[in-house]
Symmetry: C2
Subunit: 249 residues, 2 copies
């Protein structure tokens, strides 16, 4: 039940320190080819990837993403976008208007899924080549600025970035939720079961942090996640996304 | 620039006919383990997978997904859900309320991305084992019924299904958009460039369909996508999602 691919997948950890070694164009194009090979809803292909190697732009993106140095210092930086601009142009070529479809919640789901499947292909392909990656949700801290910096027109929404490069760190993996908490059979599990598993996980993650920090940090996942989710983040998102002509109806 | 993993990724095609051979529990759990190994935004782990092997439920899901027989006839069926129910329970254990965060557009993006990254890990892991897969967006035809069938509580949104099994067909790959159309460098490409590439792609896909159907079907991607997107689909989605306490603010 093990092979190279599954080993690659299970060995994933986010890399936040890269060697100063750029990715060759050959590798780059292979990664994009992998992105394109992912499934796409109804052949719509709603993902566009903007590759960034312009250093000034990378530095600016790093600032916008909350001063994460590895957004600038890596082998290459990808921005994955939901993209219905292409479909809008296609429709105009046919004298049609499909804005009502594009602005729907359904299309917003499709676009986010399409871009994510493509991105995960890139992640795994990169890791299979000995590269490391980290997803950068931080570009959503300031999406207007990111969108302007990358000239994204209406109907194009940068969703997340991905830094890729040769790893210069070997981070450990944090314990994931117990498998029975995320895999339910034939129906969603009962609340009592979830509570039981969360208590078990709180203990497990608390022990993990206590050990790793020599007791400086003792909160487990339940405590941590509650505290990080108490204040809503990126509350401008709804208006911004609407302004892009997306997720409105 | 080629290895087993990249070969698996590039060789992907959706399988819609499976042998009558169930997936062993060992394989199943390995696939879920792979799902859990994917990146997750801020350690939130917003994905729950509901595995369905109850035949009655599978038959019902097949009906709901638009009478797609392979939703019932396969080795196993997964439903990937965005899941903030867990976080809501975690917060209650801490006497906190995080509903404002959960209902945000930002959280809706995070949840859709998290579930999709996990799903694509399952897809690639399955294919690396010689299994075939097909994503089933069709479960979004009737999400209320799907959600009820699987007992999904508030804050749990089934996003898509995935049928997995031993392939009993060898479908061909449809040509994807030209790579320069989906991979832009340092900024979104100019409209004229997109138009040029779309015209080229229209010709390429038209030739492809003409050849494959012996001239019965001649429309390329531009024609096809415009026609399929002229009438909005699943227009109940916004209200349904709001009813789940998601994507509201």
């Amino acid at each position: 039940m093990m092979n190279e691919t599954i080993e690659t997948i299970l060995n994933h950890r986010s890399i936040r320190k890269f060697k100063q070694e750029p990715i060759s164009d050959e590798v780059l194009l292979k990664l994009v080819e992998c992105a394109q090979a992912a499934s796409t809803s109804s052949y719509q292909q709603v993902c566009t990837i903007i590759g960034v190697d312009d250093l000034e732009k990378k530095v600016r993106l790093a600032e916008l993403a909350g001063n994460q140095s590895y957004v600038a210092e890596n082998g290459y930086f990808f921005v994955f976008c939901m993209d219905y601009h292409r479909h809008s142009i296609a429709a105009k070529m046919m004298d049609a208007n499909i804005d009502e479809t594009i602005q729907s919640t359904e299309a917003f789901i499709v676009g986010t899924v399409d871009a994510s499947l493509a991105a995960q292909n890139v992640a795994i392909a990169a890791e299979s080549l000995g590269l490391g990656i980290v997803y950068i949700g931080g570009i959503r801290n300031h999406l207007k600025e990111v969108s302007d910096l990358l000239d994204c027109p209406e109907h194009v929404l940068p969703l997340f970035g991905m830094a890729v490069g040769y790893p210069d760190a070997e981070p450990v993996k944090k314990p994931r939720l117990p498998l029975p908490a995320v895999f339910h059979r034939n129906g969603y599990q009962k609340k009592e079961e979830t509570e039981k598993l969360l208590k078990q996980y709180e203990k497990e993650t608390s022990d993990y942090y206590t050990k790793r920090t020599g007791g400086k940090r003792t909160e487990g996942w339940v405590t941590q996640i509650t505290s990080s989710m108490t204040v809503p983040k990126r509350t401008y998102m709804k208006d911004f996304v609407h302004g892009k002509g997306l997720n409105k109806t």
